[in-house]
Amino acid sequence: MAYSTFCQTPNDSTKEPMFFGQSVNVAHYDQQKYEVFEKLIEKQLSFFWRPEEVDVSRDKIDFGGLPEHEKHIFISNLKYQTLLDSIQGRSPNVAFLPLVSLPELETWIETWSFSETIHSRSYTHIIRNIVNNPSVVFDDIVENDHILKRAGDIARYYDDLIKLTQVHNLHGSGTHEINGEKITVNLRILKKSLYLCMMSVNALEAIRFYVSFACSFAFAERRLMEGNAKIIRLIARDEALHLNSTQHILSLMQGGKDDPEMAEIAIECQQEAYDLFVKAAEQEKEWAKYLFKDGSMIGLNEQILCQYVEFITNQRMKSVHLPQPYEELSNPLPWMKNWLESDAVQVAPQEVEVSSYLVGQIDSSVDGDEFLDFDL
């Protein structure tokens, strides 16, 4: 299945599986195998925003007034968010696009990744505002062991999939010696790598991001760094959508209707997927320890954040049909929902409440019943 940017074999894309079918040729959306991806694209586009729309100037004053240990919490958290979006802004494109075989899914992946680049741009917007030399913050991301440790685990699944795809594309199935390294690749190995990568992306979007959101919103709960929280709120709204999409993809894979071999792989990889989630959760708990090493802040400390990690991990694993590793408890951060509620997000000044509006949209649906009691 050598990749081509425009495969000239005519095909009915609705008969292709999500991945590993014939590469997408004509980008058409009139017939769709999975309408949900089209809906996700529309929703994501209706969510469009730019970081410059949010005024973060007050944050500089707030930041200056924070005690040292809270500055550490804020900056470290921001660094981590920057890392996550740096990865997400490119990886879905590089890893998934060569494998995808449905036009609507292809476009969704591009739309998804594009929105992550907006998130990355927001971090520069925020950091530029609160420190005089932003590069000090950015440079530390590739030096800070606590961040790098997790970066390795996140990138690993993507890198593995990308490498296998490239080898398979060039040399086909079999064992190949490349730069002195023996690599065995076939379609099943690729599918397995894709499944685990999708699980890892889901864990990233579902757990890691939310831990960082909790920290950002904890400041704003005290009416500090509110500009930052406004931006993070927009990011969180996008992430909920991305999370939904990977859950959908995983469910379709597990269901087996899309590709029966994928369902076998899902069963085969259940333990690995479970371990991957637990590892992500444990890493986040370690991160909480690092964040609060010099002291906690009002409303959030290591213990509460760890409880939140466990709570959210259980919820997210349930959504992708995995057993729950932690004890069932109630949401330790009930105020999070005020920040995650999407209609409370203010997108443009003239639009205070409804967040997802389509420009020029009119409601033209008139039901036949409306005229039932109408006589002349």
Partner: protein
């Protein structure tokens, strides 16, 4: 003009068989109604696309205010963007929930057995 062709009874929402809410239209969504009774439901986006509030429906039907984007099984609903269409029985715990006390009738007729059972549970 206020005449309506049919009368629709306000649906009763039960949690694992225990009636908890009379959905009389005071709340704009099922989730809001559940929260007003302090039912523990996890929610995030509250707009049908994150899927956090996904709840199993034991019996009954809901209608959606906005079409949910989250993946749903046939026996699941998203309380954040739906309202009960018929009496609804949800697979949620009624622990810590304010339960409407059943009125005790002091008549010679003994109340229906099912009712007595529920009143005791409450």
């Amino acid at each position: 003009m206020t005449y309506k062709k049919y009368f629709k009874k306000a649906p009763i929402v039960s949690l694992k068989g225990q009636p908890v809410i009379l959905f009389d239209g005071k709340h704009s969504s099922l989730l809001e109604a559940l929260e007003s009774k302090k039912v523990k439901v996890f929610s995030e986006c509250r707009n049908g696309f994150c899927g956090a509030c996904k709840t199993t429906v034991i019996s009954g039907e809901v209608s959606y205010l906005t079409q949910p984007l989250a993946e749903l099984n046939a026996d699941e609903c998203l309380p954040c963007c739906c309202v009960p269409e018929t009496d609804l029985n949800l697979k949620l715990s009624c622990q810590g929930v304010e339960i409407v006390a059943k009125r005790q009738y002091s008549t010679n007729h003994s109340p229906a057995p099912a009712l007595t059972k529920l009143a005791h549970e409450g």
